[in-house]
Assembly symmetry: C2
Homo-oligomer: 259 residues x 2
């Protein structure tokens, strides 16, 4: 029994040769089928079909994808874990029935704000507990894909950090805490809502639905472009039925942080 976790980037244009080779060697792709289809299932079907591999669509357990912004980190963690356990059970059933080599196609890269590796770790633990591991281990590996921050940077033709300085990749939920802790160059993922209050003099490089037909890009001083971002976000959602955005925020240059 083998599982391959394959990063497919932000679309078929990013499917690397090693991912394409791996995919062609798989017996089937397991893909989540969500109640409110966000287009990802169709996108995964297209990639799998392009390489001649069948897709097994698995109804996804419900998840509170946009919990209250007042939820604590602990509450957020609990919500993620419940959803995670239900997903593991659904996928384990497919693996038991079908065997062979299964692929998961991860939008973007498996190493950033994606739960697939944790899901497969849990699958492997469950598998070991229920089978004779010496005879039937569940092996898995991971191949990388282009991530949203990279495509954001490429579209805006920027480097994600000032010369020799760090980039802090974080979530919208943590943004204020990270700024309060002194971060001045942040790449923000899992945005949900966009609140830039009090950051008027910061610079932003923003993108939504990157790599798709509904892609939108805006950059500039926050106070100058906030309205344009709101408009672009609405356009992306109108065009695609969903919106996923990511942005780089950089504080006003100071002597200490200038390159």
């Amino acid at each position: 029994m083998r599982v391959r976790i394959l990063g497919v980037g932000m679309g078929p244009q990013h499917v690397t040769p090693e991912v394409a080779d791996a995919l062609r060697g798989c017996d089937y792709v397991i893909a989540a089928q969500k109640a409110d289809d966000d287009g990802l299932l169709a996108a995964r079907r297209a990639i799998a079909a392009a390489h001649g591999v069948e897709v097994v669509a698995v109804p996804d357990p419900a998840r509170d994808r946009d919990p209250s912004s007042t939820a604590t980190t602990a509450e957020y963690g609990v919500a993620v874990r419940d959803w995670h356990a239900a997903r593991v059970d659904a996928y384990a059933q497919v693996l038991r029935e079908r065997g062979g080599t299964a692929a998961f196609l991860v939008w973007g890269d498996p190493s950033l704000y994606d739960s697939t590796i944790r899901v497969v770790e849990s699958l492997a633990e469950q598998w070991t507990a229920q089978h004779q591991p010496a005879h039937l281990p569940l092996e898995y590996d991971v191949l990388p894909g282009i991530s949203a921050p990279q495509l954001l940077a490429a579209r805006h033709r920027i480097v994600l950090h000032r010369v020799g300085q760090p980039v802090h990749i974080t979530t919208a939920r943590r943004l204020r805490d990270d700024i309060d802790a002194g971060q001045r160059n942040l790449c923000v993922m899992l945005t949900g809502t966009l609140d830039l209050t009090g950051l008027d003099d910061w610079s932003i490089w923003w993108g939504a639905n990157l790599g798709t037909d509904s892609e939108e890009l805006v950059s500039g001083r926050v106070a100058d472009v906030s309205a344009a971002i709101g408009d672009a976000r609405a356009r992306a959602k109108d065009a695609a039925g969903w919106v996923m955005d990511v942005y780089l925020l950089r504080g006003p240059a100071t002597h200490a942080s200038a390159p």
Copy 2:
């Protein structure tokens, strides 16, 4: 006049379809030829040849690639800028002589600790100053590639952050300052030397020469694996003649930071 900045990941296995298409549309690739060849020129030649594109090798200006660890950030910035200006002049000459569409092949991703975007920005400024911009603008774009931190994470089958938490991507030069400022989950690039003194109880996921035949991987508690990392680093250097490493460092779990 057009320049395309193409991320090629950690080898030909990571050249995405969009980068391959872009490369085939270019007239030539400009590649740095270093005094101490680190294998990158040969790797770029192989990728260009696979897509039928000529390589123009440009002798690289000397650069202090491993300045004293006691150099200040300002001194480091000056060294980078001098090297940068010399590179720009060398490439501008090639563009003037050859015209057409030129590609730069960026190892890894152009958005992380790579100077190509800044070099091309300077080329475009110089071009505009020396030509009639309305007739001969220098246009450029950027396409992303798989970066070293992503391949590190894939090889170790990890996510780069704890659930819902940030990842701080930084340089070895800044590591101590960033830890002092409270960072407990850091991805470290541009390592040069590896000093893990005082981090015995931290966890490390380390890799060198990722994606090549001389790839090395080590992970574990810092105190337990420091010696193994030293050995692996020496092996990578023996095998390839050079060593480039990257690692994720994670502080001991605390109540506040546990997932």
